[in-house]
């Protein structure tokens, strides 16, 4: 006698899983939440902890969603759920920024994906105002290691929270664009939002 497993309606389990993830986030059971966010510079993945925004990843440049989440699971915790509602503020502020209606992000940040010198450089970088730029050398000086401008470049290249921590505002000392974690086209695009006359 055969007992076939019950049939599922299409999308039934997915919808229930989404409600479960939302509840896990609401009840504080998930240590980490994430959402995919559309933007004019490509698909982004935003990751937050109870302390704040920990990661913004350019999805394609980082090997896709799975690879981005594997990395976060390894370094912070595997208790990760997709909870778009928890990242509404991040999505809204990014939208406003790309629409030219926001110059400063008002988001709590969790720096735990970066440490030591790298973190110091990135925290200095976070202070560069909208519309202005700095250099790798100035970042090295600001982080307390004036000769470490190459390492400062490495730190900025490893920025876990690009766009919000504006590593795109850091240029080579001679005025060249330098590098960018999301590719130079994106760097140009972000700078053109902030200083259209210089980078359009």
């Amino acid at each position: 006698m055969s007992l076939p497993p019950p049939d599922l309606q299409p999308g039934e389990a997915a919808a229930l899983a989404a409600r479960t993830s939302a509840r896990a986030a609401d009840e504080g059971l998930a240590q980490i939440v994430y959402a995919r966010v559309d933007s004019p510079v490509g698909q982004l993945v935003a990751v937050a902890t109870p302390r704040g925004l920990a990661r913004i990843a350019y999805e394609l440049e980082n090997g896709g969603l799975d690879s981005i989440l594997d990395d976060v699971a390894l370094r912070l915790s595997p208790a990760i759920v997709e909870a778009p509602a928890q990242l509404d503020n991040v999505r809204r502020e990014l939208e406003e920024y790309f629409a030219g209606r926001r110059q400063e992000f008002d988001l709590a940040l969790d720096w735990s994906l970066t440490t030591g010198f790298r973190r110091r450089v990135l925290q200095q970088c976070a202070r560069i105002p909208f519309g202005l730029t700095s250099t790798y050398k100035e970042m090295a000086i600001a982080a307390g290691s004036p000769r470490a401008f190459r390492a400062a470049g490495g730190a900025l290249g490893s920025n876990p929270i690009p766009i919000v921590v504006p590593c795109h505002r850091v240029l080579a000392t001679g005025g060249g664009l330098g590098g960018y974690t999301g590719g130079l086209d994106r760097k140009r695009r972000l700078l053109s939002i902030e200083a259209p006359t210089l980078f359009a």
Binding site: P5, P6, S21, D66
Partner: protein, 165 residues
């Protein structure tokens, strides 16, 4: 760091959600499956960061689902209203026409607890008798016997239904 290689919880949830839901629909019915599904994965999430990476995640989460199903059945025994339609079937008052479009799993749910548990874990969750024995804390032989007894009862019930004019 024992948890280093565990997949992100969301991927674990997406990988096993269909299996868990099928199992729960079979063991508690569609109405309560929704609640039991959420409780299963919320319990799993609480324990998740402490799991070792080489755990059998599928067997693990189905064992949790099995415990949630037991909770639902216990709650029903304390408050028997929702199972009225099931007991209708046990007393044999069911007509063959009703059963034609009916649910075999409803009959499984009316079996004695151990038989119900073994049949849902084996046929709705596709666990091996070895995994079932571990989940139930019994011997593999006892699990096989309960499955055989349950199937025997079901066959007899279906014969009786077919024989009803």
């Amino acid at each position: 760091m024992p948890a280093a290689r565990l997949p992100p919880f969301q991927r674990f949830l997406d990988t096993h959600r269909d299996d868990v839901l099928r199992f729960l629909i079979a063991s508690v019915g569609r109405h309560d499956a929704d609640y039991a599904f959420q409780e299963t994965f919320l319990s799993a999430l609480r324990a998740y960061p402490r799991l070792t990476a080489n755990s059998n995640l599928r067997g693990w989460v189905l064992t949790i689902a099995h415990r949630k199903a037991i909770d639902v059945h216990r709650a029903r025994r304390r408050n028997p209203l929702p199972v009225a339609q099931v007991s209708d079937r046990v007393d044999g008052s069911l007509s063959a026409t009703a059963d034609a479009g009916g649910d075999l799993w409803e009959r499984v749910r009316a079996l004695p607890a151990r038989q119900r548990e073994v049949l849902t874990l084996r046929h709705a969750a596709d666990l091996t008798h070895g995994e079932i024995a571990r989940a139930l804390g019994c011997s593999e032989e006892a699990a096989r016997r309960a499955a055989a007894d349950g199937l025997k009862t079901l066959r007899k019930e279906l014969r009786d239904v077919a024989a009803t004019p």
